[in-house]
């Protein structure tokens, strides 16, 4: 039997494939799709970071800065402001914990019991954040004034001592940051809780698990990606915040963001400001990577991606 020709095969209904060379277009597509983002990152992230790194190794004074591989800026920054770095990390840890404790029940309730009004509840939760956060923080100054509508009233009623105050304390700063970053915590939590199949909870009930056990064994583990993402998204910006310390804080509440601002704007010491920023960023980056590694990168990044 002779080998059938292509035509015969086609007539016989046998599907024939010509082996094609992989086209350039096909392999290039993913890169093409990535290009705008990559270009954006290169232009607006890598270039500035590179320049910041370069600036951080200058020495001299404004008008006479020179690139001298001056690593002294780093040791100066860490030596001089080590305490303030630690304070910022400490504040951010409390803030993140507080925000998680506050946001979890709310996100849980909206996700499980929000029904048709879910998006409205979510909108209500986010409503205050449509106003600039500086304006809101300044408003707290008025609300919490020593003799203002809240403390003044409580003092008149004899509930509080006359010299009691909230402003210009660590409590005020930490509460302020918590308040301002709450949406960064609530949203990823909500997204991961919302995705949980509610039938799983019913199944837990059917299997005679108590509500607490169901939560502990089913809901909590399934919401973990959201918790991890919320932690990262709250902690990182909280460390670098300087607005709350400036508006609500007092002596001894200075954070690293305030120091960087001072070095940059008051001292015109761009190299030290750059070194301080870079140190902070590097610390957060390393910390964040370890965190992601320990908890599993996928969980953290999906959680974060889902939020976006």
């Amino acid at each position: 039997m002779s080998t059938p020709t292509v035509d015969e095969l086609v007539k016989a209904g046998v599907p024939v494939f010509e082996r094609r060379k992989p086209r350039l277009r096909r392999t290039a597509t993913p890169y093409g799709l990535m290009a705008p983002a990559a270009l954006y990152l290169a232009l607006f992230f890598l270039v500035p970071i590179g320049y910041m790194l370069y600036t951080s190794l200058w020495s001299g004074f404004l008008g006479d800065f020179r690139f001298t591989w001056n690593f002294g800026n780093y040791s100066f920054g860490i030596e001089q402001y080590g305490d303030i770095y630690l304070r910022s990390l400490w504040y951010a840890s409390i803030v993140t914990l507080l925000a998680l404790v506050l946001a979890y029940p709310v996100a849980y309730w909206i996700a499980f019991y929000g029904g048709k009004r879910k998006s409205m509840y979510l909108f209500l939760l986010l409503l205050p954040f449509f106003v600039s956060f500086i304006i809101r923080t300044v408003q707290w100054q008025f609300l919490l004034a020593d003799n203002g509508i809240i403390l003044g009233t409580l003092k008149d009623l004899g509930v509080l001592r006359n010299d009691f105050r909230v402003l210009a304390t660590t409590t005020a700063v930490v509460s302020g940051i918590t308040y301002n970053f709450l949406p960064f915590t609530a949203l990823p939590l909500y997204v991961s809780l919302e995705r949980i199949d509610k039938h799983l909870v019913e199944a837990g009930k059917d299997l005679y698990a108590s509500r607490v056990t169901t939560f502990r064994k089913v809901v909590w583990p399934l919401s973990l990606p959201g918790v991890f993402a919320a932690f990262l998204l709250t902690f990182v910006p909280a460390v670098g915040d300087y607005v709350n310390a400036e508006i609500l804080g007092g002596p001894g509440n200075f954070m690293i963001g305030n120091v960087i601002q001072d070095q940059f704007l008051t001292n015109f010491n761009y190299p030290v400001a750059a070194a301080l920023s870079f140190t902070l960023m590097a610390a957060l980056l390393v910390g964040g990577s370890i965190y992601a590694k320990v908890l599993g990168t996928e969980d953290v990044t999906t959680g974060a991606a889902v939020r976006a």
């Binding site: 100054q141 008025f142 007092g250 200075f254």
Partner: protein
């Protein structure tokens, strides 16, 4: 301390500085290096201007020639908010003094208020100046202090033509003539000045210190009776300088040892819990909310707080030891496009009738004492005309001190190293 004004005029070092006016600042730098033994204050000041290795173009060398031409018919002035006379009329808001200028000279003035903070504004224009380009402003108003010193040190201001300001020569107050930070007014002309003193709430002060319910001294800021109710500025200008005034130290001529003394007092004040917080412009909220009983304050603000009427009877005191006077200065940044128009306007505001319009509205210290009679007799506003905060008399002025002027960047670094940790702590 009492003869400060005399000293300002007759200080031999300053006179010498004036006599050397024809030399460029770079020349002075060279001479300062050679004849170090007999260097005058002015020469040392000038030396700071010439940084070796500096690449920016200098405004000084071309200073006089750019003023030789004709006006271009337009000028861009960047100033602070709420700092010019304004009038609401049926057909909209008018700016009488600006409109008068355009009417008389034919020069359009583009008046904007981009400056809320010296350092922040400097940060914005700094890259443009470093490139030697036009900032978009022919005139800017910068307070004497860090930022102005930097602009001078970096040669980023254009030297003003001394023969093009007849009104300034005739009418400028002694208080703004030939200041320590700019001997001979070679680069700056005052817009308005203000006082850093103490603002206080009489009710709270009486409550906390019944036996002496008045604020009269800088040392009241350090009184433990006001624990947790004292506001200080979180800066390296007003706070250290006013503290030194309180210690009986003349800030302008202070020494590093005296700086340390002041730093110690401030540190003690913080550690004892006397300071409520270190504020910036937001101290006005703290004062009107009753969060502080007394606070370092700027004269014009207390005026305006009382005028707004949220709180009653806030007081502003010039302490018996003295207070700090600061000046917002008109100056021309390098790269200027309309230099002739700029100097024309800068001199125009020194005409007493023009100054009367401005001073009667802004209520800061006017650089033209002759404006007082016009405000009193023609504008019929005795409150402003008789206010020592707008037209201080000789005695008031004698009690006002200026900031210490840094002679080298290293000195400034030492200063900041002493005073910054106090509010950063």
């Amino acid at each position: 301390m009492t003869d400060r004004k005399d000293r300002l005029i007759t200080d031999p070092a300053l006179l010498r500085g004036l006599a050397m006016r024809r030399m460029s600042r770079r020349d002075l730098f060279r001479y300062a290096g050679v004849g170090a033994g007999s260097v005058s204050l002015a020469a040392i000041l000038a030396a700071c201007g010439g940084q070796p290795g500096q690449t920016t173009p200098t405004g000084t060398d071309t200073g006089s020639s750019i003023f030789a031409g004709q006006p271009n018919g337009t000028v861009n002035f960047g100033n602070w908010p709420l700092y010019i006379d304004k009038e609401k009329r049926a057909d909209g808001i008018h700016f009488p003094s600006l409109e008068l200028f355009t009417k008389e000279t034919g020069i359009e003035i583009n008046y904007t208020t981009p400056i809320n903070d010296n350092a922040e504004f400097f940060g914005k224009i700094q890259p443009v100046l470093a490139a030697g380009q036009y900032t978009g402003y022919d005139i800017i108003a910068i307070t004497n202090g860090d930022t102005l010193n930097q602009l001078l040190r970096l040669d980023w201001l254009v030297e003003l033509p001394a023969d093009m300001r007849p009104n300034f020569d005739q009418y400028a107050s002694v208080a703004v003539r030939d200041p320590a930070y700019d001997p001979g007014n070679r680069f700056t002309m005052a817009w308005q000045s203000g006082i850093t003193g103490i603002g206080w709430d009489p009710k709270l002060v009486a409550e906390l210190r019944p036996d002496k319910p008045e604020i009269t001294s800088v040392n009241d800021l350090f009184d433990p009776a006001f624990k947790g109710k004292v506001g200080m500025f979180g800066d390296t200008g007003d706070t250290p300088n006013l503290t030194m005034v309180g210690l009986g130290i003349e800030p302008e001529t202070s020494t590093p040892d005296q700086w340390r003394q002041a730093a110690q007092v401030l540190e003690q004040q913080r550690d004892d819990g006397v300071v409520r917080a270190y504020y910036n412009q937001n101290y006005t909220n703290a004062l009107s909310n009753g969060d502080v009983a007394l606070t370092m304050a700027w004269s014009g603000d207390i005026y305006q707080l009382n005028a707004e009427g949220d709180v009653e009877g806030l007081q502003f005191s010039i302490p018996e030891e003295g207070a700090i006077i600061w000046t917002d200065n008109m100056c021309i940044p390098i790269g200027v496009e309309n230099p002739v128009d700029a100097i024309t306007y800068m001199d125009f505001v020194y005409r007493p009738d023009v100054q009367a319009l401005i001073a009667d509205w802004v209520n800061y210290i006017s650089p033209v004492p002759a404006a007082r009679d016009i405000i009193l007799n023609e504008l019929n506003d005795p409150t402003v005309a008789n206010s020592p905060l707008v037209f201080p008399d000789e005695e008031d002025l004698a009690n006002l001190h200026s900031y210490y002027v840094f002679k080298t960047p290293e000195e400034q670094q030492e200063w900041n190293g002493l005073f910054q940790p106090i509010y950063q702590g």
